[in-house]
């Protein structure tokens, strides 16, 4: 069926306009739902959701607590650091619940876009790991000085005639290339793009008993999944740096207190969400218990709720009531 | 080259008024740097030589002629000889490279865009070889288009459009779309559209080429009526010699962009300037164009001199019956002056083409 386009466009737009007008005046379900919930007290806010499973646990717990207290929360998956900071400056993100990047947000803080809210209680430690079967079979591989001895074993079609050194994703704190060159290692850094890829590398290596050397970090549940992984960290000389940009590459990664960041807008508000974010603080064990549940197939919402139900005192303290 | 004196001598009608259309030294050259050709020695080259030398095509080269008010001026020529380009230059749909075009004494090449639009809206209209109908409009709205852009109200312009629809015999098709019509019907829509604004001058580019013989004859009659009764001036392009003879007061023959000869049909048939023109007019039934003047000859001693007297400007075809019936040669005289005699053998010889 067809008749003049003009008429049809006219018909479509008249009906659409009519519908909008009617929709505007008619009473609807949401008005009633609205007055009951009291959403206006907390407001609507956005949490950045970074893509490692520890972050998912922390972000989800904070989101669930906030929702239970009348906040409208949007969870937005975003790359870490610069992208997220810009989003905070643009007003589309309000909270980063776990940032590893020792001060790289300074510029945004100076501009008044971001407020540092302090530690979240987790302590992060990055390192280079081999699958536990290797640690058992070649105990001396855990000393970085011996890595070159085994370099040939790590060759892949992507690393050519050097060993493959699986490096962390772009937004993470990584100094792999520096470590390789400073320690004169016969390895080639291969970018992986995501935590999931690193998980994949180590899991497959352990399962198939193939060699692999990969970037990883605590807190994280991979250490629960792969027994003995925590002990399979290759040790470099003791850490002597905190700013990755100034690291020599000779020494290992530092232990880092993980930070919370929030938008100025949130911190200036009297929202209960600001209080929750300010007070949120938990241990690596707390986070691991939630991530382990997610890892084992629970939905993040359920896993977070389970922890909240099991820890009413901590939650109460965060809400500040 | 152009025969200036011919065209001048031929414009017989309505002396005193300026020509309806007057063309002087008109050029249209396509290609790189066209202006440099006009007036240079290259201008005398033939079209193919010019093309080989400069890469330019002279679609119209150095054309001059006058069309008297109320005259039907026919342009003929082989395909590619520049007829369509010429007629487009007259209305400035194509900007001439050089030369002047006067419409009713007004130099159209100097007209501002507004003035040009005014002229196009009120003074003249065109019928196109390829019809140029608007595919998204019904027949009636196609015909009403020139009225519409003139700001005429819908009811009024539709009434006028319906009149011309009747005129061209498209009754019942006013709500059809061009692509639903046959070529001939589309051509008549184009004609009706040109007539809708009732212009003084009509430019017709092969207006009847797609018509069947019957409708074509009707349309030719319509053109003749417009010409005779309403005194419209027309520049009429056609490939059909008999049509040219039928509707045209004078005919211009073009070759390779230039006008070879201009004259009445009789002049062309009687005195073709070269083989090209002679070839062109060869197929005309001479008896249809020539007058008795052409056949008149001195009487031979044994011939009767007491046959009836006929006027010299009588077409031979029309005189033939009388001549063949009288069994005597007729006497031909012009303004009382005796020119000679014409016998029935003379007429038969001409009709059978032996002459």
């Amino acid at each position: 069926m067809k008749f003049g386009l003009k008429r049809r466009i006219a018909a479509v737009s008249i009906i659409a306009a009519g519908a909008l007008v009617l929709a505007g005046c008619s009473s609807s379900v949401n008005d009633s739902a609205d007055s009951a919930s009291g959403a206006s007290e907390c407001g609507s806010w956005a949490i950045a959701m970074h893509a490692w499973n520890g972050y998912t646990a922390s972000g989800q717990v904070v989101a669930e607590i906030a929702k239970a207290n009348g906040c409208t929360i949007t969870q937005t998956t975003l790359e870490e650091a610069g992208v997220t900071y810009d989003a905070m400056e643009a007003g589309s993100i309000d909270v980063v619940i776990e940032d590893w990047g020792g001060g790289r947000w300074k510029e945004w803080v100076d501009r008044g876009a971001i407020v540092e809210v302090g530690d979240n209680g987790n302590v992060g430690l990055i390192g280079m790991y081999v699958p536990p079967w290797m640690a058992a079979k070649y105990p001396d591989i855990l000393d970085s000085a011996n890595l070159n001895k085994y370099a040939d074993m790590f060759k892949t079609s992507d690393s050519g005639d050097k060993g493959a050194w699986y490096e962390g994703p772009p937004g993470y704190t990584t100094i792999g290339e520096k470590m390789i060159s400073a320690n004169k290692l016969n390895f080639k850094a291969i970018s992986t793009g995501s935590e999931a890829a690193l998980v994949d590398v180590l899991t497959k290596a352990e399962a198939n008993k193939t060699p692999a050397l990969a970037y990883f970090y605590t807190p994280g549940t991979l250490f629960i999944k792969i027994a003995g992984l925590e002990q399979s960290r290759v040790k470099f000389p003791a850490n002597d740096w905190s700013d990755a940009a100034k690291a020599s590459g000779l020494t290992d990664y530092p232990e880092t207190a993980l930070k919370k960041l929030a938008s100025k807008k949130l911190m200036d508000s009297n929202s209960v969400f600001a209080t929750i974010v300010k007070n949120f603080n938990w241990t690596n064990a707390d986070q691991n218990s939630v991530s382990a549940d997610i890892e084992s197939g629970m939905k993040p919402e359920e896993a977070a709720q389970k922890w909240i139900d099991a820890n009413p005192d901590k939650v109460k303290a965060w809400i500040g009531s | 080259m152009v025969e200036e004196q011919r065209s001048a001598s031929a414009s017989s009608a309505s002396a005193g008024r300026p020509p309806a259309v007057s063309v002087r030294g008109l050029w249209k050259v396509y290609g790189p740097n066209p202006l440099s050709i006009v007036g240079s020695p290259d201008a005398t080259l033939s079209r193919s030589e010019l093309r080989a030398k400069t890469g330019c095509t002279a679609a119209v080269s150095d054309v001059s002629f006058d069309v008297a008010p109320g005259e039907v001026f026919v342009v003929m020529g082989l395909s590619g000889s520049g007829k369509s380009t010429l007629i487009r230059c007259l209305t400035r749909l194509v900007e001439p490279t050089a030369g002047e075009v006067f419409l009713d004494g007004e130099d159209i090449s100097k007209a501002t865009p507004q003035r040009l639009r005014e002229l196009r809206r009120q003074h003249f209209s065109m019928v196109f070889q390829h019809f140029g109908l608007l595919p998204h409009r019904k027949v009636i709205d196609n015909i009403a288009y020139p009225l519409e852009i003139n700001g005429m109200k819908k009811a009024e312009r539709h009434a006028r459009a319906n009149e011309v629809i009747e005129l061209v015999g498209l009754h019942g098709y006013s709500h059809a779309f061009p692509e639903q019509l046959s070529g001939g019907m589309q051509q008549r829509v184009g004609l009706a559209r040109a007539l809708a604004v009732d212009p003084q001058v009509l430019f017709l580019d092969e207006p009847f080429s797609a018509l069947d013989p019957l409708i074509r004859r009707d349309m030719q009659q319509e053109v003749i009526r417009l010409h005779r009764e309403l005194g419209k001036t027309m520049v009429f392009i056609t490939h059909d010699l008999s049509e040219a003879v039928k509707v045209g007061d004078r005919i211009a023959i073009m070759r390779d962009g230039a006008v070879v000869q201009i004259g009445t049909p009789e002049e062309l048939v009687a005195l073709p300037i070269d083989d090209y023109v002679a070839n062109f007019v060869r197929d005309i039934a001479k008896s249809h164009v020539l007058t008795l003047k052409y056949l008149a000859r001195p009487a031979q001693s044994d011939e009767d001199m007491d046959g009836p007297e006929l006027a010299a400007n009588m077409i031979i075809r029309d005189a033939a019956e009388i001549i063949l019936q009288t069994h005597k040669p007729v006497r031909v005289s012009e303004n009382g002056k005796f020119l000679g005699i014409v016998s029935s053998e003379d007429v038969l010889r001409l009709i059978s083409g032996v002459a």
Binding site: M1, K2, F3, L5, R7, R8, A11, V12, I15, A19, A23, S28, V29, N30, D31, A33, D34, S40, A51, T76, T77, E80, A81, G82, V83, Y85, A87, E89, A90, R104, R111, G112, S157, D158, P170, G171, K178, S191, G193, S194, A196, A197, D200 | T91, R117, E118, L119, R121, M126, F128, H130, F131, G132, L133, L134, P135, H136, R137, Y145, R193
Partner: protein, 642 residues
């Protein structure tokens, strides 16, 4: 230059190149550690930092960028609040899901026909059933907003370019460049000025789709049958009258096709723009890529595919409805009007319902098959990766060891001047002197940017992917070009393939090949095959029948006809297809930076994440652009010379 000489010269260049590469292996490769900056990249970084620093201070931001950002964000948010996010104080959008379905059904029905409307509704419901309702609505809202804004700019400019040669001439280089520029490159510079969020995403999408709208509109105006236009002029139409009463109505169908193309471009970009904060289906896709959940990626990917088909079918059906100017009989028109009127009333009633019944307002959570789809996909992926490990990894390793690595050694690990000269020589042989000079200039700029080594890594992947693409694409193209039944079978896939955002293809490839260079290459191949097959098959089909008949009569075998008649005659199409294929592949290979392909794409992504690397990221984006132009010019010139 004769054919024989050309190939001899190329072989010569190759041999010299390989020899020099062996001798100087690893010297002067301009390798730069990922975390290192050159003085140039760090000064670009400083410039970027100072731009960032001025966001709250400088007049350009206060009076220009920030208001634009606010206005566009506001515009998008209005559309989102109508169909996607809670509006005002309420907990649901102005129009609930049922209302949206009704509106889509009505609009498609009114502009094309019932069958298309049913298809559209089913696709929309499928998105809902995949648990992607709100993401889908966000994507629709973003696409709608960007398309409206793009057309607002693109159609008038296109009309202008259609009517003025000068305007077209000025615009052409930009339009050409826009066709080469990989999507990833747009994001970072825009984010610098418009930050991260819907505004940046919308503007980036506009920048991507406006050239398409301009190009097609100008083309539509220019390629009209000129005789009605001339007739209109002869009757004294003003330019405006000619435009509105003649040109635009005549160009209508083509312009609607242009809208179709603009919509598809906008959709594919909106998905990628999730990287700079665009709401919508891109988010779960990116999410899935980051957490490597192939199943989740498939769920979101299916939704993207459904939205793509929905938008493509409904807009092209609307264009098809414009094919003829002839309307139906007045009775049919009346009946049509009654139908449209009734369905309109039904739509309004549905909108009402969607505002007063909660289950019609919010997509019922119980209707959700995402988990099942996810599980099935993950199982399938797992089965493939464990059981077909030999094939997938074997194939990957084979290509990596025997093609990728040697070529990478040659391109990226020869001294830079050796590689540069070799490329310039090749350009000279196949494209001529002028292109060789252009290539010298462009490649020198890449050297100066400091990212030569990375650029060569990206180029290597692009070349390998293109070679494989052409091998598959030409074979399929010949098949499709020679057999109309093959064409019937493949055409829907080719059409669908061309409308999908490149991002979506990354997901299954990531599942098969893991985070490696090869994932990017495989994605590039899959993404660019449709366009290559299309161009090649058209070339094959355009070989005159008479030529083939003559060859057949002369006793040629099928193989001889293909190799001796059809392929040589279709050579130009094949070269053009190679060009298109390379440009498509390049766009995907750089996105592969996400899944471990390294090279320039990785630097662009790194620049987005790490503030101290932003300069390097921006320069990498520029280097991608230079690489794209170099490839395009050389390929174009070689196609022109045949």
């Amino acid at each position: 230059m004769t054919h024989l000489k050309k190939s001899h010269l190329l072989i010569g260049v190759g041999l010299v190149w390989i020899t020099l590469s062996r001798i100087f292996q690893g010297n002067q490769t301009l390798e730069l550690a990922t975390s290192e900056n050159t003085s140039f990249t760090s000064s670009v970084g400083d410039a970027a930092a100072s731009i960032r620093g001025n966001r709250t201070k400088s007049a350009a931001f206060i009076y220009f960028f920030n208001p634009i950002r606010a206005a566009i964000t506001g515009f998008v948010e209005i559309i989102r609040s109508i169909i996607s996010v809670p509006s005002g104080n309420s907990i649901i959008p102005v129009i609930g899901w049922f209302g949206v379905v009704a509106i889509v059904a009505f609009t498609v029905y009114a502009t094309s026909r019932l069958r298309t409307a049913i298809l559209a509704v089913s696709l929309l419901l499928a998105c809902g059933a995949l648990g992607m309702w709100q993401f889908t609505m966000d994507t629709l809202a973003m696409t709608l907003a960007s398309v409206l804004l793009s057309l607002l700019v693109g159609i008038p400019v296109g009309i202008w370019a259609g009517r003025s040669d000068r305007v077209l001439k000025i615009l052409t280089p930009f339009l050409d460049l826009a066709q080469i520029l990989p999507t990833l490159v747009y994001l970072a510079p825009l984010a610098l000025f418009f930050l991260i969020g819907t505004a940046s995403a919308t503007i980036a999408t506009m920048v991507y789709s406006i050239p398409i709208a301009i190009r097609i509109t100008a083309h539509a105006i220019r390629n009209l049958n000129q005789s009605p236009i001339e007739a209109a002029l002869s009757m004294g139409s003003t330019p405006t009258q000619t435009l509105t009463k003649v040109q635009l109505p005549m160009a209508k169908q083509m312009i609607i096709l242009g809208i179709n193309q603009t919509v598809m471009a906008a959709l594919s970009f909106v998905v990628i723009a999730a990287l700079i904060g665009a709401p919508g289906l891109g988010k779960p896709v990116v999410d899935a890529l980051i957490i490597r959940n192939v199943g989740q990626g498939f769920v979101a990917g299916f939704a993207v595919v459904f939205v793509a088909i929905l938008l493509d079918r409904s807009t092209s059906a609307a264009a098809k409805a414009q094919e003829s100017f002839i309307p139906l009989t007045s009775q049919q028109i009346r009946r049509g009007r009654i139908k449209v009127g009734l369905s309109g009333l039904l739509a309004i009633a549905s909108i009402f319902a969607s505002r007063s019944v909660l289950s019609l307002a919010v997509w019922p959570g119980s209707i959700n098959i995402s988990q099942q789809v996810e599980d099935v996909t993950n199982h399938a992926t797992k089965w493939i990766t464990t059981n077909l490990y030999i094939f997938t990894v074997g194939f990957k390793d084979f290509i990596s060891n025997w093609v990728l690595n040697p070529l990478e050694t040659l391109l990226a690990f020869s001294p830079w001047f050796v590689t540069l000269s070799a490329i310039v020589f090749i350009a000279a042989v196949i494209g001529g002197m002028r292109v060789a000079m252009l290539a010298t200039g462009l490649l020198t700029l890449i050297v100066l940017s400091g990212l030569w080594h990375e650029a060569m890594i990206t180029l290597t992947q692009t070349i390998v992917a293109t070679l494989l693409t052409m091998a598959i694409g030409i074979t399929l193209g010949i098949w499709v070009g020679r057999s109309s039944s093959a064409e019937k079978v493949l055409r829907p896939f080719l059409d669908a393939g061309q409308t999908l955002p490149a991002f979506v293809y990354l997901i299954p490839m990531l599942g098969l090949f893991g985070p490696t260079r090869f994932t990017a290459i495989a994605t590039g191949i899959v993404y660019s095959i449709p366009v290559v097959v299309k161009i090649v098959s058209e070339g094959i089909r355009s070989v005159p029948i008479a030529m083939i008949e003559a060859a057949t009569v002369a006793g040629s075998t099928v193989r001889q006809i293909i190799t001796k008649v059809q392929l040589p005659a279709a050579k130009r199409s094949i070269l053009l297809a190679t060009n298109q294929g390379m440009i498509f592949v390049l766009a995907v290979v750089v996105i592969g930076g996400f899944v471990g392909s390294g090279g320039l794409g990785y630097l662009v992504i790194l620049g987005g994440s790490k503030p101290e690397m932003q300069g390097k990221g921006l320069v990498a984006g520029f280097a991608i652009l230079l690489l794209g132009v170099t490839i395009d010019r050389i390929a174009q010139a070689s196609a022109r010379r045949t």
